[in-house]
C-alpha cells in the first residue's frame, strides 16, 4: 500500500516543491511582459514610445527582431508570436518589453501607445459562418469533417418516423490550473536557449523554439518545472509564452522571467471551444433512431491552434455509444476574433456529448418514454460498427453498465421518491435525477499515434537503480507514480529502486505530449516493454536467475555494468495489430480502445432562487486495468467537478471580444461546498491494450457530468434546457418560457 502512494506527495504537502516562480537562479533574472492589443480586430499603424522614459534600460522586441519564423509551430502556420500589422484578437501580443525592476516595467508599459485602426470584429459562430467579414485566410473555416453512413434524407422524408430537431450550445471554459502559466528563458551563445517552465509538452516547445529562433535542435533545451495543473491549458500555450521569454533573453543576453498573474492568464490564454450543435433525428415509437444528422460547430478563436484535432475528437465522439445505419455528421471549426481557443480536457468531446445526451432525453420526453428506454434500444454492442466504420471487438455492454449504476444509486426508487417529493407545491425545492451514457477514446485520434512514434528509454544505473527516461510530464495526474509502479512490477523491484529522470529534452527522448488520455496507456506500455527487455537482458546474460528475488536486481545491475558499458533499452510505439485508420476517408479505428461510461447525477433545484445544487454523483466506467485506485479515483473526481463547473458555474463573459470576468471573483468554479459526494466505480472488463490492459482515463470524466446534471435538472423542473453553463437566470428563463 505504502508503495502506491504519490511519489512526490510529501514534498508537495510540505510546500517544498519548487514551481517555476519558486526557483532561484544563479544570475540576475529580468522580468518580461507582452504589450497587447486593446481591441479585437484592427490594423496596427504605429507604436509610440513616450520620450519621457529612458528606454535604454529596457529590452524591447518587435517582429523585426525575430531571427527565425514569426509563427508558432503547430498544425497550421498562422499564429504569430507578435502581431505584424493585422490584429486578430483582444490581448494579441504586439511587442515585448523587459526590465530588471517589475515596477519600472509596468511604468514603461504604461508609456507605450499603440495606434490601431479598428475593424469590425467577428464574435459569434453565426457571424463567422455568414462570411460578411473574412478574418482567416480565404474563408473563415479552419477545418471541416464529414462522417456519412447510409441515406439520412430518405429516412427523414419517408414519413414513417417522428422527427425531432434541436440546437444545443456549450460555453467557453477556462482550464484554471491553480498555477498560472510561467517560464524562465536563458540564452548562452555556446549552449543556446533553455526554457524552464510550467508545461505539459516539452517537445512541442522544443520544436517551436527551433523554428522561432532559427536554432539547431541541439541549441534548444526545454526543462519542465513542477507543474501546478494543466488540463490542456499548458499544451499549446507554453510555446507562445516560451517564445516571448526566449526572444527577450536572446536580445537582452539575460535570463528572463515571465509569470502571468491570474488576470492576464485568464484574459489571453486558450479556453475550451464554445460550440453549437444542431441535431435532427428520426425515431420509431420505441425511440429507436432510424436516422440522425448532427451539425457540430466550434468557435476556434482567431488562429487555428489545435482546433482541427479538437473538432475531430468532438465529431468522432458525438454519436456516442449508439448504433444506427443512417448517420450524417458535419463538423466545422470556424474563426472568430476571440483569443484562440485550444486544448482543454475532453478536447471537443464534452461539447458534442452534451448535445447528444440532452437530445436523447428530449426525445424521450416527446415520445413519452423514459431516458433509459430510449438508450436501451439504441446501444451499440460488440461486433457492431460505429458510424465512422470502427467495429468494436471488445466487450461493450451498456445494459450491464446501466444496471450497475442504477443499482448502486437506487435509481428507480429514487426516481419515484423524487416525483412524490416534487408533487408538494408548497415546497419550492424540486429534486431530480439524470444520467448520461458515453465513451472516450484513449490516445491520439486516428493515425495520430503513428505520426508521434513515441519513444521511451530505460537505463540501468551504476548504483543498481533503474531509471525511466520519457518526456511525459507529471502535472498532478500521478505519472511519476504510475511509471514507477509499472517498472517495479515488471522487474519485481521495490519502488525506491526506480528513478524517474527529470523531464529535460537534453536527457529524455520524445514520448509525445502529455495529453489525450495517453500517458498511462501508450507511454506506460512503452515503459513496461522496456522494463521487460531490461529484465530479460539480465537473465539472458546470466546476471540474474530466471527465478530471481527482488533484492538481487541491484547487485545484478552493478555486476552487469562492471563488465559492460551500458544497459539501456529503447522502445518505440508500434500500432497494435488489427487497428487501422484511413486518413483519406476519415474512417476506421479512430482509437485502439475506449473507456465506456455511465454517469448519474442527483440535483436539488430551488425554484425561488433558480439555484441548482448537485447533491450526489455516481461515476461508473470500464477502463481496463486500474493501475492505482487512489490516483484513478482522483482523476475521475476532479474531472467530474470540472464538468459540474462547465454545466452550472463557469461562464466566460465576453464583451467586444474581451473576457471581462477574468478573475476568480466573477469566474466561479466549484468549491468544497458546491461539490457533491462522488461515488467512483471502476469495471475492468477489457484488457487488450495498455500496460496490463490499462486504458486512458484522464479526459473521460469531463464528458459525462454536464449532460447528467442538466438531464437531472430537467427531470426536477420539467422545463427543457439546451445550453450550458446554465446559470440561475438561464434556468429562470427556461422555466418561464
Amino acid at each position: 500500500m505504502q508503495e502506491k502512494l504519490r511519489r512526490e506527495g510529501l514534498a508537495k504537502i510540505r510546500g517544498e516543491t519548487k514551481y517555476i516562480d519558486d526557483q532561484s537562479w544563479p544570475h540576475q533574472v529580468i522580468f518580461g511582459m507582452a504589450i497587447r492589443s486593446p481591441v479585437a480586430r484592427g490594423t496596427l499603424t504605429a507604436i509610440e514610445f513616450d520620450q519621457q522614459i529612458d528606454w535604454s534600460d529596457f529590452c524591447i522586441v518587435t517582429p523585426q527582431d525575430i531571427p527565425g519564423k514569426n509563427r508558432i509551430k503547430m498544425i497550421e502556420d498562422d499564429w504569430p508570436y507578435l502581431a505584424e500589422d493585422q490584429i486578430n484578437h483582444y490581448g494579441e501580443p504586439i511587442l515585448l518589453l523587459a526590465h530588471p525592476d517589475r515596477q519600472q516595467l509596468q511604468r514603461g508599459a504604461a508609456h507605450i501607445t499603440l495606434q490601431i485602426d479598428p475593424l469590425p470584429p467577428v464574435l459569434t459562430i453565426e457571424e463567422s459562418l455568414s462570411e460578411q467579414e473574412i478574418i482567416w485566410q480565404k474563408g473563415n473555416t479552419f477545418k471541416s469533417y464529414q462522417i456519412k453512413r447510409g441515406t439520412t434524407e430518405s429516412i427523414f422524408s419517408s414519413g414513417d418516423y417522428q422527427i425531432f430537431e434541436q440546437e444545443y450550445r456549450t460555453g467557453a471554459q477556462e482550464q484554471l490550473y491553480l498555477e498560472p502559466n510561467g517560464v524562465v528563458a536563458t540564452f548562452d551563445p555556446e549552449l543556446g536557449v533553455t526554457i524552464y517552465g510550467s508545461l505539459q509538452c516539452p517537445y512541442y516547445v522544443d520544436g517551436a523554439m527551433a523554428t522561432l529562433l532559427n536554432l539547431e535542435k541541439d541549441k534548444v533545451r526545454i526543462v519542465q518545472s513542477p507543474t501546478g495543473g494543466g488540463f490542456g491549458g499548458k499544451e499549446d500555450y507554453p510555446s507562445i509564452l516560451a517564445g516571448h521569454a526566449a526572444l527577450l533573453a536572446l536580445h537582452s543576453k539575460q535570463a528572463v522571467k515571465m509569470i502571468y498573474d491570474r488576470k492576464e492568464d485568464m484574459a489571453v490564454t486558450t479556453k475550451r471551444h464554445p460550440s453549437r450543435t444542431k441535431i435532427k433525428s428520426a425515431h420509431d415509437k420505441d425511440g429507436k433512431i432510424a436516422a440522425i444528422q448532427i451539425e457540430f460547430i466550434l468557435d476556434g478563436g482567431a488562429y487555428a491552434t489545435l482546433s482541427e484535432v479538437v473538432l475531430s475528437r468532438g465529431a468522432l465522439h458525438c454519436f456516442g455509444p449508439y448504433f444506427c445505419q443512417h448517420v450524417q455528421i458535419d463538423a466545422k471549426a470556424v474563426a472568430t476574433n476571440h483569443p484562440p481557443n485550444g486544448a482543454f480536457r475532453g478536447f471537443g468531446a464534452p461539447q458534442s456529448i452534451f448535445a447528444m445526451e440532452r437530445h436523447l432525453d428530449l426525445v424521450a420526453a416527446k415520445l413519452k418514454l423514459t431516458p433509459e428506454e430510449v438508450r436501451r434500444v439504441n446501444f451499440i454492442t460488440k461486433g457492431q460498427s460505429s458510424c465512422f466504420g470502427q467495429t468494436f471487438r471488445e466487450r461493450v455492454d451498456y445494459h450491464a453498465l446501466m444496471d450497475i449504476v442504477f443499482e448502486q444509486s437506487d435509481f428507480h426508487n429514487k426516481q419515484q421518491a423524487f416525483q412524490k417529493y416534487n408533487a408538494d407545491p408548497s415546497n419550492p425545492v424540486k429534486k431530480g435525477i439524470g444520467f448520461a451514457t458515453f465513451l472516450h477514446g484513449s490516445g491520439f485520434t486516428g493515425s495520430g499515434e503513428d505520426y508521434l512514434a513515441s519513444r521511451c528509454t530505460i537505463t540501468a544505473r551504476q548504483d543498481g537503480k533503474v531509471e525511466v527516461l520519457a518526456s511525459s510530464t507529471e502535472i498532478g495526474q500521478g505519472k511519476d507514480t504510475i511509471f514507477t509502479q509499472i517498472v517495479a512490477q515488471e522487474l519485481k523491484l521495490p519502488h525506491h529502486q526506480v528513478v524517474i529522470a527529470p523531464v529535460d529534452t537534453s536527457i529524455v527522448p520524445d514520448s509525445g505530449p502529455t495529453v489525450a488520455s495517453r500517458t498511462t496507456m501508450i507511454v506506460g506500455n512503452l515503459v513496461k516493454q522496456a522494463a521487460a527487455k531490461l529484465r530479460d537482458q539480465l537473465i539472458e546474460t546470466k546476471f540474474l536467475a530466471s527465478n530471481y528475488q527482488p533484492t538481487q536486481v541491484a547487485g545484478a545491475i552493478k555486476n552487469y555494468l562492471a563488465q559492460h558499458d551500458t544497459l539501456t533499452i529503447n522502445t518505440q510505439y508500434q500500432r497494435p495489430e488489427g487497428v487501422a485508420w484511413d486518413d483519406q476517408s476519415y474512417s476506421g479505428d479512430a482509437y485502439a480502445t475506449y473507456a465506456w461510461a455511465v454517469y448519474l447525477a442527483e440535483v436539488e433545484v430551488d425554484t425561488l432562487t433558480y439555484q441548482t445544487r448537485v447533491t450526489n454523483f455516481y461515476a461508473l466506467q470500464e477502463v481496463g486495468k486500474v493501475v492505482n485506485q487512489i490516483l484513478a479515483q482522483g482523476q475521475i473526481e476532479g474531472g467530474v467537478v470540472q464538468g459540474i463547473g462547465h454545466a452550472l458555474y463557469e461562464h466566460v463573459l465576453h464583451q467586444d471580444g474581451r473576457m471581462i470576468n477574468n478573475h476568480l471573483t466573477d469566474y466561479i468554479i466549484p468549491t468544497s461546498i458546491d461539490t457533491p459526494p462522488i461515488k467512483v466505480i471502476f469495471e475492468e472488463w477489457n484488457r487488450q491494450y495498455g500496460p496490463d490492459g490499462a486504458k486512458g482515463i484522464g479526459e473521460l470524466p469531463m464528458d459525462g457530468p454536464a449532460p447528467a446534471v442538466i438531464n437531472a435538472v430537467v427531470n426536477a423542473v420539467g422545463s427543457q434546457v439546451y445550453a450550458i453553463p446554465m446559470l440561475p437566470e438561464n434556468l429562470m428563463e427556461a422555466m418561464q418560457s
Partner: protein, 165 residues
C-alpha cells in the same frame, strides 16, 4: 525615485524574528516569498479568492495576498514551512499523503493551513463542517473529495490519539 522608498517591517516568521525592507505597497505575500524566500506559500489569484497564499497571522488563517505589509508589522506569521515542523502536522501530512489529498500540489500548502486551523478550532468537525472550513481554498485537480477525506482521516486519527502520533 518614488520607487526606491522602502519601509521596514518587523515580524516573527515561523517563530523567528525578522526585519525586512519592502516597498510601501508590498503585501505580506511578497515579504514571505520574495524577501524571506519561503516559497511554500503560493500566489494563485492575487485577489483573496483561491487560498493558495494562506498563512496563519497571529494564529488566524488569512490570505497573505490581501494583507498589506504594514499590517503585518509586529505580528507572528506561520507559513507551511513553519507548520511542517509542528508535531500536529505529522498527522495531517500522513492523511493527505495516504488519502490522495494532493495532485498538482499548488493549492496544497493552503489546504494544509486551512485544515490545521480547523483542527485547532474544532475538536471533532463532521464532513459538512470540514467542507465549510475548506471552502475558501480552491482546488482544480481533486474535486475536493480526497481533500475532505484527508482532513476527516486526520481528525479520526487525532481523536483516537490526542497527541496526533
Amino acid at each position: 525615485m518614488e520607487f526606491n522608498n522602502h519601509i521596514t517591517i518587523t515580524l516573527t516568521i515561523n517563530g523567528e524574528q525578522q526585519q525586512v525592507s519592502v516597498p510601501p505597497m508590498a503585501r505580506l505575500l511578497d515579504i514571505i516569498r520574495n524577501k524571506l524566500e519561503l516559497t511554500g506559500t503560493k500566489e494563485g489569484c492575487g485577489a483573496g479568492e483561491c487560498g493558495a497564499c494562506a498563512v496563519l497571522l497571529d494564529g488566524k488563517m488569512v490570505n497573505s495576498c490581501l494583507i498589506p505589509a504594514i499590517q503585518a508589522n509586529g505580528s507572528s506569521v506561520y507559513t507551511i514551512e513553519g507548520l511542517a515542523q509542528k508535531e500536529e502536522f505529522n498527522c495531517l501530512e500522513h492523511s493527505f499523503h495516504k488519502k490522495g489529498g494532493t495532485q498538482c500540489g499548488f493549492c496544497t500548502p493552503g489546504m494544509l493551513i486551512a485544515s490545521y486551523q480547523l483542527i485547532k478550532d474544532k475538536s471533532s468537525p463532521n464532513r459538512e463542517e470540514i467542507r465549510q472550513a475548506m471552502a475558501g481554498n480552491l482546488c482544480r485537480c481533486t474535486g475536493h473529495q480526497k481533500i475532505i477525506d484527508s482532513v476527516a482521516d486526520a481528525i479520526e486519527q487525532l481523536t483516537k490519539s490526542p497527541e496526533g502520533q
